[in-house]
Symmetry: C2
């Protein structure tokens, strides 16, 4: 932790399975960070106050007046205090005006965003990543598609800096439950990890199979097992093939939908996963994505600024 | 157990999670039955001999010379003795000539059936159910489609009394892993079972949503949660809706494929599940199915007869 700059904000990315905390300087730069297994499903007996105190203890001791801002499932009905969903269209400005305070602390929670109506959908955490992506790249503001791959992948249409519409794909969770609890995972369980090249080839094979299945992968899922029994796929590579099938099913459907925007496509989230999606999108002949990685701290900083929790950054004042 | 008729065969339907044993009379009728949690995944330390002895003890004591025939996963690589897959096309005659003996017993195992080539697929247990369906209903012999709903639903094309081609849908296993291990199951976990009418309506709603999603249900799966959060679906009914989505995805794909036969459609397997599929097929405007229920003992009897393990039944000799 540097001592040269006085910090401005404690920023928390607090999800289901992890808590990542950042100490941000007056320009939003990360001065220090902490992380731990205090996701909302891990915290013992719902002791969120204890987890918050533990992860920020060193910072609170030195700067007890620091404001804190958290995004993610901590604001859900299963979290610390519920921050009700904000309806689309919503951007950093709307989020900043709907923060919910945690009583007895200096912590504020960012609400999730919901799309009601005929095709309801919800997000919590992604709205902050999106605010971060827009803060980082001005060319996304007018109109873009932002893809956030993960447990529940989101395909989001943004116009005028606000979330307009989105769709959720349970791709990551489907992969996890099939790997962990279905017959498809059992085949690979005794095997070592495949070589990188073989894994990439199996992933591409799954992608292509899904791309060429216009009705969806329901009749193909079992092929992750049958191909192994037929000697046409190695057991160690079957999970990469399965990952290709599932991500391919997501891409085929999402890219086939008429885009609601002519703007660029951006990938936001875990770097390795963004890379996997970038390769897959290329194989599908999709647009070249702008790969941004994790943008949570940028989003938290942007929302904190819009809420007046921190002063506009030095660079903006110049 | 009746004492009036001397039995002819011990017939075993021995799968992953259960063992069902039947004592069959000289015309194939069930004289007695036993069942227990001795599926191949449950049997301690692979003690299949012990499970077999326990379940058939009373019968073996009285008729130690009785032949026994088993179908299902007991003949898989993870079972007692492997009965290698027989390649399509295959019917009761081919199966009867490929039985594999378990050394030291009077038990024979029915092999599974495989379809190799570009779209490999395997079944084990269903080939016997199919032999039973064909034995029960002469009009299926020339040409038909047989649907066996379940953990791994099979859609099977039969011509000339033999399995020609088949597709597997992991519908039942997908439902089980999503209910047991995903966020979709958690919503309903604290709820009681819905009323029958509400459950049927939610199931139909899922079916229709899947029917009207030509590209597959990848973008719809999360709606089993989002609709609940939006107040548009009750948590207690969300699993019936999910079941509708998954079965609907199977039906939309399977019924869209050009049928390889103009013959009737038959439903084979668990009675409640057959009923669920019959309702769903009607909603999809599919053909009126012949609902046969469980046909395992008929199949085992037919294969035993073709193998010469038992004499042709009295009714045939008349």
């Amino acid at each position: 932790m540097t001592n040269l700059v006085a910090p401005s904000l404690v920023a928390l990315d607090w999800g289901t399975s992890s808590l990542r905390a950042y100490l941000l300087g007056p320009d939003g730069a990360v001065l220090d960070r902490r992380a731990g297994p205090w996701g909302i499903m891990q915290v013992q007996a719902g002791d969120f106050a204890g987890a918050f105190a533990t992860v920020t203890a060193a910072w609170q001791a030195r700067w007890p007046e620091l404001p804190a801002l958290a995004s993610g499932m901590i604001g859900s009905a299963q979290g610390w205090v519920e921050a009700p969903y904000l309806e689309c269209p919503a951007g950093a400005g709307e989020l900043a005006h709907a923060l919910v305070a945690v009583p007895g602390t200096r912590l504020l929670l960012v609400p999730g965003v919901a799309q009601w109506g005929a095709t309801p959908n919800v997000m919590r955490g992604e709205e902050t990543q999106i605010a971060g992506a827009l803060a980082l790249r001005a060319e996304l503001h007018a109109s873009c598609r932002i893809v956030l791959p993960g447990t529940h992948s989101k395909w989001v249409t943004v116009t005028d800096g606000r979330i307009r519409h989105f769709t959720t794909y349970m791709t990551g969770e489907l992969f996890a439950v099939l790997r962990g609890h279905s017959i498809l995972g059992r085949l690979a369980a005794g095997e070592g990890a495949p070589e990188a090249e073989a894994a990439a080839a199996a992933f591409a094979r799954g992608l292509l199979a899904a791309r060429d299945a216009p009705g969806g992968i329901a009749p193909l899922l079992f092929s992750a097992r049958a191909l192994v029994l037929a000697g046409a796929l190695r057991a160690a590579e079957s999970l990469d093939y399965l990952s290709g099938l599932l991500i391919g099913d997501e891409l085929r459907t999402a890219l086939a939908a008429p885009p609601e925007t002519a703007g660029p496509l951006a990938l936001v989230g875990d770097a390795a996963l963004c890379d996997r999606y970038a390769r897959a999108i290329a194989l599908f002949g999709g647009p070249d994505p702008i790969v941004l990685g994790d943008t949570a701290t940028s989003g938290l900083w942007r929302i904190a600024r819009d809420a007046g929790l921190v002063a506009p950054s030095a660079s903006c004042q110049e």
